[in-house]
């Protein structure tokens, strides 16, 4: 005898709509509902109550089938299967994640018991250096190069001195002066000078890959042997976050000029001041580094002598490799492999916020999305918890503002538009569409986007919209949606290049970006919004900036140009022997602070 129970009616009322994971929901039902949990579908759960004998027969049959499926690789290595009715740590709440981050950052790190550390990634970086464009490149860059400032482990908002010992803004906020650390050595033995620093920052700001941040810096000058000054186009507090990124790492001027004159691609033979020296790059296979014993920060000299960044293009194979002990850390794990790795005693997954959040974009350039009531109706019809649990397996953070969760400017107490299907239908009727209308939702073909997008489509069908989903290849999507703005509703992700609200708010909501590819894709034109965004950009006081971003978020909520959904996670899997590990949203894994201690 099967009973179907709606989770939203019981669990959420009891727990006041607390952010939770699918595993926690399953666990709650097992403990509180008479019978045995069978399965979950959409928003409902199935509970079974039947004869014990019949149950045993079915269990036996299930076991035989399960063994067959096991051979087909459905339940992984056999050390323990995650998910289902077994207790599993797949997915963690924001509170648990914050705690685990704290624990990993403050863990005491012992000396390593081996010299070689293997870190697996699933795609080869295009380069190592200032032109990095993805986390894999940043991972490699940060081993070889240093920036003037660094982020404190996984905490992106906590900035620490690195190659600069201190910094100071001028009164008008348009000049930022750095004091350079003395006695810093490059890997070739040269000593770092203020000239090197000024050259590097000037070089970085002129790169095409840094065009959006480079525009903020007007000039870089050597003040004296120990000081370098940046002249900014306008006062900009987040410039410190930008300077902390690997894209603004410090090069050796002489070496760079030598490579340029010889036509050598320096990104393939990098040489910096970082805790590891570059050894070699076997294209498509691995990149090797060796400890730099004369590292300027002797408290952070690498524990392990050799670092190999291994490229394994298949995430499933890489997950098997880390379970097998063939690598020590792995960046790029699939969501499908996470329950198994979570349950595996030999592996630990660290998670943190990624730099981006998922959202729905409504094209205000086209009717009926130019009607505020229609947009509000759509916002009210989206049940974000369902998208979170069904589309993201309950892993991540529900996001209520058009700002990535956890970065500067995000207010954890801000409330988004509440889910209200009846209210949404009423609004749609008031807007003149009591029977809905025909439209399309476009999304990229990656299941990371298309799965939650399909949930959104189903929810909008309940609203009464005659909506189709168009899953498109990335290039096609970029051209149609982000460049030509040829769409009705789109599901996508906004990524912040650095952990400050301005990194996404300006380009998404300011009217000057209305024709920019990947900019103000919704076509939002709002004078009040523009003023607030500009004010927040130029303000140097943090409290005032926070208040301004709250106001900006309120306007977006009212206008519903963008419907923020979920900030995804960046995860790293490590072997249990690894100490000092942490997850980082921007790929900045300082392996020199980690250690491998075999039991």
């Amino acid at each position: 005898m099967e009973t179907r129970i709606s989770k939203s009616a019981q669990y959420f009322n009891e727990h006041q709509r607390t952010i939770c994971t699918k595993t926690q929901l399953q666990k709650w039902f097992t403990e509180n509902i008479t019978g045995t949990f069978i399965s979950s579908e959409d928003s409902d759960f199935m509970v079974e109550t039947e004869e014990p004998a019949m149950k045993k027969i079915k269990s036996a049959v299930a076991l035989v089938l399960g063994v067959t499926l096991l051979a087909a690789g459905c339940s992984g290595s056999g050390k323990g299967s995650g998910g289902g009715t077994e207790s599993s740590s797949s997915g963690t709440t924001a509170a648990e994640l914050d705690t685990s981050q704290e624990k990993s950052v403050h863990t005491e790190v012992q000396d390593a018991t081996k010299d070689d550390f293997v870190f697996t990634i699933i795609s080869e970086p295009a380069n190592i250096g200032q032109e990095v464009t993805n986390n894999n490149g940043r991972l490699c860059t940060i081993q070889v190069y240093d920036s003037l400032i660094k982020e404190n482990g996984g905490d992106r908002t906590d900035l620490l001195p690195n190659l600069a010992t201190e910094w100071e803004f001028s009164e008008d906020g348009k000049t930022l002066t750095f004091t350079i650390k003395d006695g810093v050595k490059f890997h070739n033995g040269d000593t770092m000078t203020a000239e090197d620093v000024a050259f590097s920052l000037d070089h970085a700001r002129k790169l095409s890959t840094n065009a959006s941040t480079g525009n903020i810096i007007e000039d870089v000058q050597v003040v004296d042997d120990s000081h370098v000054a940046l002249t900014l186009a306008y006062p900009y507090k987040p410039i410190l976050n930008i300077i902390a990124q690997p894209q603004y790492c410090i090069y050796n001027k002489a070496y760079t000029e030598k490579c340029e004159s010889e036509g050598t691609v320096m990104d393939r033979c990098p040489m910096g001041t970082g805790p590891y020296k570059f050894v070699n790059w076997v294209s498509g296979e691995e990149i090797n580094f060796e400890r730099f014993d004369d590292y300027h920060d002797q408290d952070h000299v690498a524990k392990m002598k050799n670092l190999k960044v291994k490229i394994m293009t298949d995430a499933t194979t890489a997950a098997l490799a880390i379970e097998n002990g063939e690598c020590d850390a792995f960046l790029g794990v699939n969501t499908a492999d996470m329950p198994r790795l979570d349950a595996n005693e030999d592996t630990i997954i660290y998670r943190t916020t990624s730099t981006g959040y998922h959202l729905l974009t409504l094209n205000t350039r086209k009717a009926p999305f130019d009607n505020q009531k229609v947009r509000q109706a759509i916002a009210k019809a989206i049940n974000v918890e369902e998208v979170f649990v069904g589309g993201h397996d309950g892993i991540g953070w529900i996001t209520t503002q058009p700002i990535t969760y956890g970065i500067f400017g995000y207010d954890k107490n801000f409330e988004a538009m509440p889910y209200d299907l009846e209210g949404a239908k009423q609004l749609l009727a008031e807007a003149g569409y009591p029977d809905g209308f025909k439209c399309t939702l476009k999304v990229k073909q990656d299941s990371y986007y298309s799965t939650p997008a399909q949930i959104c489509v189903e929810q909008l069908r309940k609203l009464g919209l005659d909506i189709d989903i168009k899953i498109q290849e990335t290039g096609t999507y970029d051209t149609e949606v982000d460049t030509n703005f040829d769409y009705d509703i789109a599901y996508e992700m906004t990524v912040a290049q650095y952990p400050d609200a301005d990194a996404t708010v300006f380009m998404r909501l300011h009217s000057s970006c209305i024709n920019s590819p990947k900019g103000n894709v919704a076509g939002a034109v709002n004078e009040d919004l523009d003023k607030l965004i500009e004010e927040a950009r130029y303000e140097l006081d943090d409290e005032k900036r926070l208040e301004l971003y709250r106001e900006i978020s309120e306007i977006n909520k009212e206008e519903s140009y963008y419907i923020p959904l979920v900030t995804s996670t960046n995860s790293v899997v490590v072997r249990k022997e690894v100490q000092g590990a942490y997850a980082h949203g921007g790929g900045q894994y300082r392996i020199s602070d980690w250690s491998y201690v075999a039991e």
């Binding site: 051979a71 087909a72 690789g73 290595s77 056999g78 795609s123 080869e124 295009a126 380069n127 464009t133 993805n134 790169l207 095409s208 890959t209 840094n210 065009a211 959006s212 525009n215 691609v265 990104d267 393939r268 076997v282 294209s283 498509g284 296979e285 291994k310 490229i311 394994m312 293009t313 298949d314 499933t316 194979t317 890489a318 098997l320 490799a321 379970e323 097998n324 063939e326 730099t355 981006g356 290849e473 990335t474 290039g475 096609t476 970029d478 051209t479 149609e480 982000d482 460049t483 992700m493 990524v495 912040a496 290049q497 380009m507 970006c513 920019s516 590819p517 990947k518 900019g519």
Partner: protein, 311 residues
């Protein structure tokens, strides 16, 4: 024979021209901007515009195409990768040894076992050996290679620990599982083709004559029958080698082998046009040369074919 070979080699030039133009056109006309794809999710309008200018993507189609051809013929330069900035052929030749090792091992396994089982099945037609071979062929044809690859990894690498999870290492151990997974499909085709060809031949009059003359079965099968049955099999193996050297993408992906297939997939996804053109040109040249080698091999297998080449 020499003139035939030279004629075939000259045809290659037209093949290269044709392929480059078609591919360049397709890549230019399909949606997707290389600058946006290279810069990734964090791309902004300014960085996209700057990258496009840097890569010369704003130039008209024919300017870019003829500039590309000029660099090839005047400087032997196939351009640099949009993603990495490395010369295209350096990228290709760095990965080609892995593809070559995998291809040779895969073809060796599939050819040797395919011919062996095909001959056995034909000679023992209608027996349990024939039935078992056909059933085995059906099974290995039906199994997807990526699934088989993962199963082999789970069994031999994870459970038993005999072989590494990922392939493509310096040692041959890294290529055993990928070669087995990659060879099954080709083995099935080779078995069927060999069996069919052998069955055609062993019922011929000259085979009956050979037996009547007192030749033993081994001589009849391998010296008289197999040699004549080999022509279509050699064609098939030649085609298979061409496919393999083009990079078996699925096997390379599952076993994380850094080969031509993986390079092509990455380049197509990021619209790294110079690398795509370089890879396809290289593979097309290789495939053409292999076809030529196959045709030359015919001449040695069947002297009647050799005489037709010299006409």
């Amino acid at each position: 024979m020499g003139r035939y070979i030279i004629r075939r080699l000259l045809q290659l030039i037209f093949v290269v021209f044709g392929i480059s133009f078609i591919l360049f056109t397709i890549l230019s006309l399909t949606p997707g901007d290389p600058a946006t794809l290279i810069l990734g999710e964090a791309a902004t309008a300014e960085s996209i515009a700057a990258k496009r200018a840097e890569l010369g993507l704003d130039d008209p189609f024919f300017v870019r195409y003829f500039s590309y051809l000029y660099n090839i013929f005047a400087h032997g330069d196939f351009g640099n990768s949009y993603r990495s900035g490395m010369p295209v052929f350096k990228e290709v030749f760095t990965r080609f040894p892995n593809t070559l090792k995998l291809a040779l091992l895969t073809i060796t396994i599939s050819a040797v076992l395919g011919i062996l089982f095909g001959v056995l099945s034909a000679v023992k037609q209608y027996t349990w050996i024939d039935n078992a071979t056909l059933a085995f062929t059906l099974l290995i044809t039906s199994v997807p290679s990526f699934w088989l690859g993962l199963m082999l990894i789970i069994l031999f690498a994870v459970q038993l620990g005999w072989l590494p999870v990922s392939g493509g290492t310096d040692s041959i151990r890294g290529f055993i599982l990928p070669a087995i997974a990659g060879s099954v499909g080709y083995m099935a085709n080779t078995i069927r083709q060999t069996r069919t060809s052998m069955l055609d031949v062993i019922h011929s009059d000259y085979i009956t004559m050979a037996r009547a003359k007192g030749c033993n079965e081994k001589t009849v099968t391998f010296k008289h029958a197999l040699r004549n049955a080999l022509l279509p099999v050699v064609t098939l193996i030649g085609i298979n080698i061409g496919w393999q050297l083009g990079g078996t993408i699925i096997i390379e992906q599952v076993f994380t082998i850094s080969g031509i297939g993986t390079l092509m997939i990455t380049s197509v996804r990021s619209k790294d046009i110079p690398v795509v053109l370089g890879c396809v040109t290289f593979v097309a040249l290789l495939a053409s040369l292999i076809n030529l080698a196959t045709d030359i091999l015919y001449a040695y297998i069947d002297p009647r074919v050799k005489s037709s080449y010299t006409k």
